[in-house]
Every structure is written in C-alpha cells, then in structure tokens.
C-alpha cells in the first residue's frame, strides 16, 4: 500500500521537474521577496542606533530562512480539493482504495522533495551570494529546529486540509484557501516576527496556531528561543497538531456524509 503513495509522490516529483520555466519564475519570485525583505530590514536598522532589538544579522537570517521554509512547506492540498470539487473529479478520488487525504499528502510530500532541489537549494545559494549563508546559531539549535519544522508542517498541512474541505459546503465563495494564506502570512511571523507587534496582537496570537508554524522553528534556529524553551514550544506545537487532527477528522466525516447523501 505504501508503494501506491510512493508512486504518487514520484510522479509529482517528475512532473514538477519538467516545468522549468515555472521553476525559474517561482525561484525568481521568492528571490525578489527575499531581497526586498532583507533590504527593508537593513534600511530600517541604519536609521536606528538606540535599538534594543536583536542584531541585524539575526533578523536577516530569520528572514532568509523564512523564505526558504516558505518555498519548502508545500500545502497544495487546499487548492487540489477546491479544484477537484469544482471540476467534479473528487468523486473519482473517493473510489480509490487508498484514503483521499493520504493521496493528497503524498502529492504534497512529493512536491516538497522536488522543491528542495528546485527552490530551496538555489535560494540558499543565492542568499549566500547576496548576503551571507543563513547558518544556525548552534548545532543544538539546529537539532531542535528540524523536529520543530516537521511539527510546523503538520500544523500547516492540517489547516490547509480543513480549509480545503470547507469547499464541500461553500464552493461558491471561491478559494478560501487564499484568504487563509493571507492571514497566516501575517500572523505566523513569517514576514515580521511577532515580537515587533503591539502586545495586544501578541497576546491574541499566543492562542492561535499560526505563530507556531513559522515563528517557532525560526526562533529556535536563530537562538531567540533557548533549548529548554524550545522543547516547551514544540509541546505547544504538538497540542495544536492534536487539536487540528481531531478537527480534520470531524470535518472529513461530515464531508463524506454529505457526498454520500448527494450521491457523489
């Protein structure tokens, strides 16, 4: 059975490699975002001498790595579900012996693997040329960073799946995944770490899953969160994963019921 999932992932890897124009455009876009963000920070820091915030190269590393993670964390499941419901093809996926969500996860994991070569590696090299290689603060932080990333991806993927499944009910509203993405972009700390925001925003954000997707692993990487606190942060990430998993399970069952009642 695992072979079936592996095949899907492999196909996805091959297709993405074939479209090199798209790859160039994707890397190019991410590069522009990176340059704009880093230059913005550099400019901000030149004007400010009295700052008590973190040193410039730490925030630059944070930003560069945020872009790298952004191109690595592929959650196309929300677009896939939306598209297939719109085109009516979702029924076909129900007939397969493997779970529908499992297939989409395999899809995304396959894209992630190819994006390491297609996007992450070139972006890392480009970042090293333009600025400096975004290295972790210590080996320990890197060791903690990796599992935190895995947890982050789980949160992001579960969120995307849940939002994607809402299309079973509100397809007419359009792709709500885009709305979710714009909210996540701000609240996840992927563009600006949340500690720059007013305290009211920070308090609210603590009770939302978003800051645990980008900010947590990134903070571990640059050493803003020390190893002990990192374990605590990963615990919170795991809690969110559990919550979202249950939510996904419920929504998925509802979606299946709805499809059965309507006769596919």
């Amino acid at each position: 059975m695992i072979q079936a999932y592996w095949y899907i992932a492999k196909m996805r890897i091959l297709t993405t490699l074939a479209y090199r124009f798209e790859v160039f455009a994707a890397v190019g876009s991410q590069l522009i975002l990176m340059l704009a963000a880093v230059f913005l920070w550099k400019t901000a820091y030149t004007g400010d001498s009295s700052s008590n915030s973190m040193p410039l190269d730490q925030i630059v590393t944070y930003t560069i790595l945020s872009i790298l993670l952004g191109s690595f964390f592929i959650c196309d499941v929300q677009n896939t579900i939306y598209r297939k419901i719109r085109e009516g093809q979702i029924v076909v996926d129900f007939y397969r012996p493997s779970t529908l969500l499992g297939c989409y996860l395999a899809d995304d994991l396959g894209t992630m693997i190819s994006s390491v070569v297609n996007k992450v590696l070139p972006l890392f090299i480009l970042a090293s040329i333009f600025f400096k290689p975004p290295l972790p603060v210590s080996f320990t932080s890197f060791l903690l960073f990796v599992p935190s990333c895995i947890l982050s991806y789980a949160i992001l993927w579960l969120l995307s799946a849940i939002v994607g499944l809402t299309a079973f009910w509100v397809m007419e509203l359009g792709n709500l995944g885009m709305v979710k993405d714009s909210i996540v972009r701000i609240l996840s700390g992927s563009m600006i770490p949340l500690w720059f925001f007013p305290t009211s925003v920070q308090t609210i954000s603590k009770f939302l899953p978003f800051q645990y997707t980008y900010q947590t692993p990134l903070s571990i990487y640059i050493g803003e969160i020390d190893p002990i606190d990192a374990l605590q942060a990963m615990l919170i990430q795991s809690v969110w994963i559990a919550v979202l998993y249950v939510l996904l399970y419920v929504v998925w069952n509802q979606a299946k019921k709805k499809t059965l009642i309507q006769g596919g």
Binding site: Y19, F21, E22, F24, A25, A26, G28, S29, I32, L33, L35, A36, F39, L40, K42, T43, A44, Y45, T46, G47, D48, S51, S53, E172, L173, G174, N175, L176, M178, V179, D181, S182, I183, R185, I186, M191, I192, F196, F197, P198
Partner: protein, 271 residues
C-alpha cells in the same frame, strides 16, 4: 478617421457591457477574492507601520510618506488590473489558439485583446489602493491643488502604461516559447516589491537597473519623491509629471512592437 474612432469606441462599449454581465453572473464567487485582496494590501501597509514604529524612519521616509508611495503604487496597479488584465492571458490564448478568432475579425488584434476584458473585479484592487493613498495624502498634508491633480493624473497614466508594457512584452514571449504564464506571477511580485517601497532601500546597482533599464522607478518612486518634495537617488531635471507619461508611452510603443512581431510569428507558424 472620425468614423473609425467612433466605430472602435462603440465596439469597446459593447465589449465592456458584455464583460460586466459576464462578471456579475456569479457574484458570490468573488467573496474569497474580496476578502483576500484587502487583507493582503492593508496588512502590507500595517506591517510597514509596525517596522517604522520600531525604527522610526526608512532612509528618511517616515510612515505617512511610506504609506503615500505604497498607495500610489497600488493605484496604478489597480487601474492596470481593471483595463489591461487580458495581457496576463496572452500565453493561454496562444496555446488555445484563440488568437485565430481575433485575427479573423476586421479589427486591430491588440485592441480586441484589451477591450474584451474590462475587469470590474479589479476594482477590488483599486479601492483599497485608493483608500490607502487618500489616507496617506491626508497624513502627508498633500495639497489637492489643480496642478497636483493634473500631475497625479499624468503620473497615473504613465505608471499604468509602464506596467501594461511589461506584461505585454512578457506575454509576447509566449509567441515563441508557448508557456509563460508563470512569468506573470514573477512580474507581479517584482512590481509589488519595487513600487510599494521607496527604491532607495535597494543598493545603487538595483536602483540604476530600475531607472534606466526597466523603468519601474517611474511608476511610483520618482513621482512620489517629487510630490513629497524629497530627494530621490538621481537628479532628473524637469517634473516627473512630464517624464513618467513619456516613459510610459515609449515603453508601451516598444511593447506593441514586440507584440506585433510575435503576432507575425504566430500567423506564419499557422498554429
């Protein structure tokens, strides 16, 4: 001559009416778009505010001025999205062979391309942009004098033409290479990051490129610098209100040239 113009105008009006009807058919569909775009733009402005609150200035640009250039950039983007959005679909039309249909009609192909898709949904881009710009111009204390309004008008036209020219050139690439849709997204990101922040945050080299090679700086940075009375990187004589539309028209003519070369190739390859 007059009758040709009248004819073109009536065709354009007809196209516009059809476009509105088409777009109003499934209004609910726009809800996600209607949510996403304002969230993106307002949050972008908010994030700039957060940075400036902490760091006070960006190379001498304070928040009202940053918001001003941000809004100005969004305005020309919004107008372009309303009128020229079909330039984003050129590659799809090449692949699907839609150009044959346009070629068969006794009217200028490019005109048909643009006039057939007046994108009223683009108002979703334009309205937040206008709000941000008006708010910023209030903060900055810009005088809405007659001269300023005329200047603004010409800067807008120039900005829109430069943007449209870029997309036309990129779309025309598909006449040779067939697939170029992904370049649209790339160009959008590029335009976003260079027109919504002051150009002087970028190193000198990039400023040079965006002034003389690909004149993106003329879309919002130089006009904004002038309206705000700030020093921009290069000393350019005369008013931006003159230069921007001139640059815009030049770019547009170049893009038309490239487009027509592409069309000839399309016709001759008999796809």
């Amino acid at each position: 001559m007059i009758s040709t113009l009248q004819h073109y105008w009536s065709v354009a009006a007809c196209f516009a009416r059809l476009a509105v009807q088409r777009q109003l058919e499934y209004p609910l569909f726009l809800v996600s778009w209607l949510l996403m775009i304002p969230i993106s733009y307002f949050s972008g402005a908010w994030m700039l505010k957060v940075i400036i609150d902490r760091f006070h200035t960006l190379n001498g640009w304070d928040f009202p001025q940053i918001a001003f250039i941000y809004g100005l950039g969004l305005l020309s983007h919004g107008v372009m999205v309303v009128f020229f959005i079909n330039t984003w679909h050129i590659d799809n039309m090449v692949i699907e062979g839609h150009f044959d249909r346009l070629l068969l009609r006794p009217m200028n192909v490019f005109f048909q391309l643009i006039a057939s898709y007046v994108n009223f949904i683009g108002l979703i881009d334009l309205i937040p942009g206008a709000i941000i710009f008006l708010y910023a111009s209030h903060l900055v204390g810009m005088e809405w004098s007659f001269v300023n309004i005329i200047k603004l008008f010409f800067m807008m036209i120039g900005g829109v033409l430069i943007r449209a020219a870029m997309f036309i050139c990129l779309g025309s690439v598909s006449f040779w290479t067939k697939r170029s849709a992904s370049l649209v997204g790339f160009t959008l990101t590029l335009l976003e990051r260079t027109t919504m922040y002051p150009l002087n945050i970028y190193p000198r080299m990039l400023q040079l490129i965006f002034t003389f090679l690909i004149p993106i700086g003329f879309i919002s940075y130089y006009p904004a610098s002038e309206l705000l009375g700030k020093e921009s990187g290069f000393h350019i004589p005369l008013s931006m209100a003159l230069w921007t539309p001139v640059v815009g028209i030049v770019c547009f003519i170049i893009s038309q040239f490239i487009f027509s070369i592409g069309m000839k190739k399309y016709e001759s390859s008999g796809s």
